[in-house]
Symmetry: C2
Subunit: 326 residues, 2 copies
Amino acid sequence: MKSLIPGLATALALAVPAMAQDDPLPSWNDGDTKSAIIAFVQGVIDENGDTYVDASDRIATFDNDGTLWVEHPTYAQLAFALDRIRAMAADHPEWKTTQPFQAVLENDMDALAAAGEKGLLEIVAASHSGMSTDDFEQITLDWLASAKHPRFDRPYTELVYQPMLELIDYLQDNDFQTYIVSGGGIEFMRPWTEAVYNIPPQQVVGSSITTEYRLVDGEPALMRTDKIAFIDDKAGKPVGINTHIGRRPIAAFGNSDGDFEMLEYTTSAVDGPSLGAFVHHTDADREYAYDRDAPIGALDKGLDAAGGNGWLLIDMKTDWKTIFPE
Amino acid sequence: MKSLIPGLATALALAVPAMAQDDPLPSWNDGDTKSAIIAFVQGVIDENGDTYVDASDRIATFDNDGTLWVEHPTYAQLAFALDRIRAMAADHPEWKTTQPFQAVLENDMDALAAAGEKGLLEIVAASHSGMSTDDFEQITLDWLASAKHPRFDRPYTELVYQPMLELIDYLQDNDFQTYIVSGGGIEFMRPWTEAVYNIPPQQVVGSSITTEYRLVDGEPALMRTDKIAFIDDKAGKPVGINTHIGRRPIAAFGNSDGDFEMLEYTTSAVDGPSLGAFVHHTDADREYAYDRDAPIGALDKGLDAAGGNGWLLIDMKTDWKTIFPE
């Protein structure tokens, strides 16, 4: 009967937290927001209740920038792109006199802004393409290991929101499948999301460029082209969710109007429980305060619609005890 | 101590098959092919061995048509498209005199063949677009519930290969994540793969058309357009794998040259164990016999390369005791 011993140990291990009634969200202040989240989860897992949902349908989606980690003063991926243009400049002497690259090299943010979306796409194309996916993964990891946030002077991967990490854990503990659904690049996120969020690559949805399969020196490689394949933002988020998951989420968390359609798609299900929530950046002291007029991460239409749609507004200042992990 | 009882029951349940040393692949004849598959899996899970692979990297991919279910005399999805054209014809009187639709309605296979790939795309566009993804799911399920294979007179979902179902089970029991990676339509497969293969929608990769998010009568819907988004075949398979999984598989199963690049991508990893295999259709009595010259599912380049690349050829006639489930 030797094989019973692991069974006993497992049962004991499982029994302890259940008896202790641990707070699943210790970095959240007690209040309506925390109560609403816990009530939703408890309703979904209560097999005898009206709001029970099978584990296979417990899909929760999270935006990344501004929902799971800091997005001000600018997206980490944009900082990455600009750093990479600077690093590549020695091989591109023509960039000294060609916009938008000249603006990056001269730190001329006005000229960069003047280059608009077209300029931004040129910067993304130049900095994000022409290498294999394996090489891009290494480039991303190298950058994250050395880059620091201008205000907090910490690596970007440490500037994740502790309360949201607890929320991901709590959902996973209750058999939710947790996905990232971000406007950011899918291959910029996948190298580190498992270590930082416990979300593996196959549960990351994002914007992408086209890759081409090729043998390079006899070895298979996926080469990154400069052609945009998919933009996972706004009405693109339900499309990305359908492509990658094939099921409608029952919970969605965002922080900007870019997440509006994801929340709408998630919470307008014909039947069954659902939860939509925006992280509202209200804490200029500990992080940032912005919403309607923000150049990055604007929450305007969503702020107006939240009440009528039953979406939670997570108030960073009052709902969260701490912002970042120790 | 009430909570110990489920633990005990689980331990007992787990102990029984382990003691019985059940054959994990009972529909496979003993021989080199079966031994090679079992040796691969046992090597991957042996924590003390040189070929151990972490569970998170145990990704196995399966082609669908001809690898998991019958693809002759034609793809199930093509039979579906033709049936749908016939069902829609009353609303399209112009089809009576317009190719390639006229060919379908008159069962004129020569004229259909003459319409070529362009004609086929017109048929797919007309039969697969213009509805929501939810409606398409229902259309697919309705068709599968009524359509029967012309030779075997059974629903297509019963014409799956019993030995491959056992292989999927065996891999899942050993903590492999099993994915379908098919040239077929992703939304044609997802409605039924969980019931038939125990593979959920999010683990299905396939060809796709573009969808658009829209509110229809105030409810969110993803509308299927007639624009092809992605062809998940040949060199597209590694691309689709990278898009959806973000990790290189360690095992890949196919049956035609359309799977060549998937096997190449899977088995040319720099280090670690890997397994590539083709189902070789050698059994005209119980199923079909075809390879190099087949109009559907040709295996030519793959047949030549298998030996040199160490890929298994699964001989349907000699390796499989049974073909279909009872």
